[in-house]
């Protein structure tokens, strides 16, 4: 899989969208879809992530966001 990239676990997202606001590259967006809990989850646009991790530290959920940085 391509790095860097971000993974958003749909069922762990509570739809606060803090990650979307925080992302410096604006590569996250609202999915417009509800997850099983009833939240409109965020999603990665699929391209443009720089692996900065800002979204990870904006997210209140422990495991909703996973960031794969570029290999050193």
């Amino acid at each position: 899989m391509k790095v860097p990239r971000v993974e958003i676990r749909i069922e762990e997202c509570k739809g606060c969208h803090l990650c979307i606001a925080a992302c410096p590259k604006k590569v996250l967006e609202s999915s417009g879809c509800l997850n099983n809990q009833g939240y409109i989850y965020a999603k990665y646009k699929g391209d443009g992530c720089i692996g900065c991790g800002i979204c990870f530290y904006s997210c209140p959920e422990p495991g909703a966001i996973k960031v794969f940085k570029k290999e050193n």
């Binding site: 790095v3 676990r9 069922e11 762990e12 509570k14 739809g15 606060c16 969208h17 803090l18 606001a21 925080a22 410096p24 809990q37 939240y39 991790g53 800002i54 990870f56 530290y57 904006s58 997210c59 209140p60 959920e61 422990p62 495991g63 909703a64 966001i65 996973k66 960031v67 794969f68 940085k69 570029k70 290999e71 050193n72």
Partner: protein, 484 residues
């Protein structure tokens, strides 16, 4: 550093303690600051390699269930008491890393005393204070940090300074104390603040690892549910409003100059304990001389004014009787009896188990001053004995059914240069007059209790002088049926 940013290992993989079907998400609302701070703390715990040593103190408030998430030792405590309970943990386990976590109601309202005093003692803990200016858990009530004008369920017309006072600035308060090593206020409201917060969280924990003492981090955080705003709006509000009232920044940092202090593990040896309790030396060279079987109960009341050594005369007599293997009780004047200008104690000596320690009707009254004689003369049992301190008391005992000895104990003790020994002098008079325990045995107790040899010698001289006075008085008054 790993190339993957993911759920820190210091979180449980599954949050089974939640007791619900969902074991992957927290119980926090969308956009809640707690979750962000939890993640920063968990990450620091993992990266600092202290997961096994860490004890997380969960408070009352929304973070009451922090123990659902942190895979560390967990202690959940009463409202406001995290710093006190944390103190207990840290003092019991000096090697632990105690992380105390509280919200604004918990820390700055109901637990104000605990946080201030744990800070003032410089407890070697790391304290996180989540300030979101509202009570979340109980339903959006006013917090001590709510801002003027803020509408909450308990300030529906807005917080008014004249009614509820001002938002309390805890970092500023804590930083005024001498003991804390590090006090900083951070925010979770924007990217830059969160970056800063991560380093501050780590530093506050590192300080504890390094033995630096009390570190305090105030975290301005969003409570979208409590503020009835979206998460993004709430963060904006935190930035635009809370940041102006609660300025971010470091309020105190003595990290660089503090000498590390690591309390030793607590594991006293038997020897240490017995030595500390003075229970090692039980050597006794005392030879008991009382015929215990035929001992007649002594119900003694010793009364006088403060400074006459009344209470210690009682304990001296008691110790002597204890050496004689008698049953003993001593109790100071207590209760309503205390009123009226006399200080007195009750001593009971017996060859049987002692019931009431109180002496209502003494068979021995040692009256050291006038009011004492006046007060207790009538209570003495018929056939009893009264020792009257004739240096001070001019009055004579009017009872005919008791033996009375008039002995100038204050005079004798003062003449011999130890006025404080008048109580011992009175005891000597009692023992010499009644011989319930040979008066010379008193010398042994004096030797044992007075460390200064010179003083002990003087006391012994006083005892001998009084004993002589009694013996001579008895010879002068041959029948000695009623004392002298």
């Amino acid at each position: 550093m790993s190339n993957i940013l993911e759920k820190p290992k210091s979180f449980y993989t599954d949050f089974t303690r939640k007791g619900s079907a969902d074991v992957i998400t927290t119980h926090y609302c969308p956009g809640c600051g707690h979750g962000i701070l939890h993640k920063m703390i968990a990450e620091a715990i993992s990266e600092l390699g202290i997961q096994d040593r860490t004890v997380f103190i969960s408070p009352v408030g929304c973070s009451v269930f922090a123990y659902y998430y942190f895979d560390t030792g967990n202690v959940q405590v009463a409202h406001g008491r995290a710093p006190a309970a944390g103190t207990g943990v840290k003092r019991a386990l000096p090697n632990s890393i105690v992380i105390s976590y509280q919200g604004d109601g918990d820390l700055a309202a109901i637990g104000t005393a605990e946080i201030i005093h744990s800070a003032n003692r410089g407890e070697a803990m790391t304290m996180f204070f989540v300030n979101n200016a509202i009570y979340g858990m109980t339903g959006g009530q006013m917090a001590p940090t709510s801002i003027i004008g803020q509408k909450t369920t308990t300030s529906p017309y807005g917080r008014k300074a004249e009614n509820e006072g001002y938002p309390i600035k805890v970092s500023e308060l804590i930083s005024q104390l001498d003991a804390p090593v590090y006090v900083e206020r951070v925010s979770l409201a924007d990217v830059a603040s969160r970056n800063k917060a991560r380093t501050v969280v780590r530093k506050a924990i590192q300080n504890q690892i390094d033995g630096k003492g009390f570190s305090f981090v105030e975290v301005l955080a969003a409570c979208p549910s409590g503020l009835k705003k979206t998460p993004l709006e709430t963060n904006e509000w935190v930035k635009n409003t809370l940041h102006t009232i609660f300025p971010l920044g470091c309020y105190k940092d003595e990290t660089a100059t503090r000498t590390p202090r690591f309390a030793p593990a607590i594991n006293p040896t038997s020897d240490q304990v017995l030595t500390a309790l003075n229970l090692k030396d039980d050597h006794s060279d005392y030879k008991a001389s009382v015929d215990k079987k035929n001992f007649i109960d002594q119900n003694v009341k010793i009364a006088g004014f403060g400074g006459q050594g009344v209470l210690s005369a009682g304990t001296t007599l008691s110790v002597l009787a204890m050496y004689e293997n008698l049953e003993v009780s001593w109790i100071p004047s207590y209760g309503p009896e205390m009123r009226g200008g006399t200080s007195n104690c009750n001593v009971r000596l017996s060859n049987k188990r002692i019931g009431s320690p109180l002496v209502e009707n003494p068979n021995i009254l040692i009256a050291m001053n006038g009011p004492s004689l006046e007060k207790f003369e009538s209570a003495v049992r018929p056939g009893g004995t009264i020792i009257v301190n004739s240096s001070i008391i001019d009055a004579k005992v009017s009872r005919k059914d008791v033996k009375t000895y008039y002995v100038p104990v204050t005079g004798i003790a003062t003449e011999m240069g130890v006025p404080a020994a008048q109580g011992v002098a009175a005891l000597a008079a009692y023992l010499a007059a009644t011989n319930v325990i040979p008066v010379e045995k008193l010398e042994h107790v004096v030797h044992k209790s007075l460390k200064r040899k010179e003083l002990a010698d003087k006391n012994i001289a006083i005892i001998r002088k009084v004993a002589e006075y009694i013996t001579k008085g008895m010879e002068d008054n041959k029948k000695c049926l009623t004392g002298f």
